[in-house]
Symmetry: C2
């Protein structure tokens, strides 16, 4: 069976045709413009390719409740052209195949569980630290959702004692995303993350916030693995700092061999999939149900 | 089929025999003493009752990984007589039936989903605010667990600006449990919760912390309902304060009709089951797999 896969991001759409073995047979990348430009290009790409189902991992917030009349509709995204755009319905209508939709980070978590760095466990968390912070959880073949989809980047956090930066989140100011995503590095230190590589205090503070978030996710979700990706995590120096801070914050409370100095680098890991994570995850999503 | 059910708490064990319809046919309560006293009483109660499976919702931390050689073993509980006690194995050995084990709060979440105030949804969170703070999540027929079981009471929290109480948690001092469980009320204000009913600032601060926790749980788990129980929640005045604070903290970020002034009292609710929640949940657990 041929399957369609879309990774819909704020800057680009990756479109793929693949099969149930997770092979991508054909792939293109198009920029995210106004929906009236981008969506016709998407339809054109899939036209006549014989796909029977389509999976879509989307930027959000987006309605991912399959029983909702607004399934696949974008909500109050910062990409204003896309606010309230019924992406799911347009694709379903245009292609005449079932469309299965989830968030980009849920799809990435699923993709890591199926083909990446979490294939040996039943539960995992994927977190991206980039322009924003988002995370998705995989749990025994499904992704975590309910009332809406998780928005794990917006949790409240305790401030680092040396930090008086007010925060960038338009909704919460100093939520996690507001003080630890890429733009907050720029705003706090006056330079982009990639230009701050040699300044240890930057990464100690960043690790403090990200470790606090992981500690919270561990207490609440107890995932069997945590995969960390996104632009900011390209600073490989963050990994050992985050691991150390997580162990200190947990302070021995959760019993697991993975939550020890010896094994934590097998617990908090970089992604196993790079380029094709989103589109491969969307392929897997297309196979659901 | 007859099923056995145990609600194992720090002060008492509730033992029940029931059936697959959730009826409790017989029930006794015994105090939690040394395991060498309590466990023989448990075995004696179930002896000859013809139960084919046993469900146990236990105080913890406890190993709830069914594939672990230490399944059902207590870990570093404050009840020192029970540290490292292999409760699951002793019951399985003594009764010769399969024993299915989960945490007390996971069992309560399942019980509310099956027979209580969350029967109309597929996901819910149950939180108890008593001597400690614990929460369990129900997700499409299962309870949430992974590396270990969640310990949602121990998440880090931002301090209330008027609060300088240091916190009681032996592991983390001012984690949520350390500053918002029953004993912290006693320590901060010099009186037990039940004696502080008429002091509004007590409940405003308590609501600030509990609402912050719920906000975090909503961002991470997105449950379709939140059920709040435990001794401290007997202060019914907490419910409207918590609901108001949750809406303020979310600040409109999560789209759902339930996260509005109009419907939030159907979203954050008291338990539907009272006395028999634990033992009924354990019965349901006994039917799993
Ligand atoms: N090597 C790097 N070190 C630190 N920060 C980086 C690095 N590369 C990119 N970033 C930051 O990551 C953010 C972009 O994140 P990315 O995951 O690439 O994209 P997006 O989140 O928009 O999909 C920017 O704020 C950028 O400054
Ligand atoms: N009506 C009440 N108002 C406020 N606090 C209460 C009330 N009743 C009990 N508590 C507090 O709740 C805690 C006991 O919680 P409970 O859920 O009854 O037991 P446990 O958590 O030990 O199973 C104590 O700290 C007690 O002071
Ligand atoms: Zn925010
Ligand atoms: Zn704690």
């Amino acid at each position: 069976m041929k399957l369609g896969a879309i990774e819909a991001g704020g800057t680009k759409f990756v479109l793929g045709v693949g099969n149930e073995q997770g092979e991508i047979l054909e792939k293109i990348v198009i920029p995210t413009e106004h929906p009236d430009i981008t969506v016709p290009k998407v339809l054109e790409f899939f036209e006549g390719k014989g796909i029977e189902r389509l999976g879509l991992g989307g930027f959000g917030p987006i309605d991912i409740n399959a029983t909702s009349p607004e399934y696949g509709k974008l909500q109050k995204t910062p990409k204003t052209d896309w606010v309230d755009y019924p992406l799911g319905a347009k694709l379903k209508e245009g292609l005449g195949v079932p469309v299965i939709i989830d968030t980009d980070v849920n799809v990435a978590a699923m993709s890591e569980a199926k083909w990446g760095n979490a294939t040996d466990v039943n539960t995992c968390l994927y977190i991206t630290v980039g322009t924003g912070i988002g995370a998705g959880a995989y749990f025994h073949g499904q992704t975590l959702k309910g009332l809406s989809h998780p928005e794990m980047g917006h949790i409240p956090v305790k401030r680092h004692p040396d930090d008086d930066y007010e925060g960038t989140c338009p909704y919460h100011k100093d939520c996690l995303e507001g003080i630890a995503a890429g733009p907050s590095l720029m705003n706090r230190w006056g330079k982009k993350g990639q230009e701050l590589a040699d300044d240890p205090k930057v990464w100690e503070m960043e690790a403090f916030y990200l470790a606090q978030a992981l500690t919270t996710y561990i207490y609440i979700l107890s995932p069997e693995r945590i995969v960390m990706g996104g632009g900011v995590m390209k600073q490989a120096q963050l990994f050992p700092l985050i691991r150390k801070n997580v162990l200190e914050m947990l302070n021995g409370y959760v019993s697991s061999p993975f939550l020890t100095e010896k094994e934590i680098d097998q617990y908090i890991v970089p992604p196993g999939l790079t380029d094709e994570a989103g589109v491969k995850g969307a392929l897997y999503l297309a196979m659901q149900q």
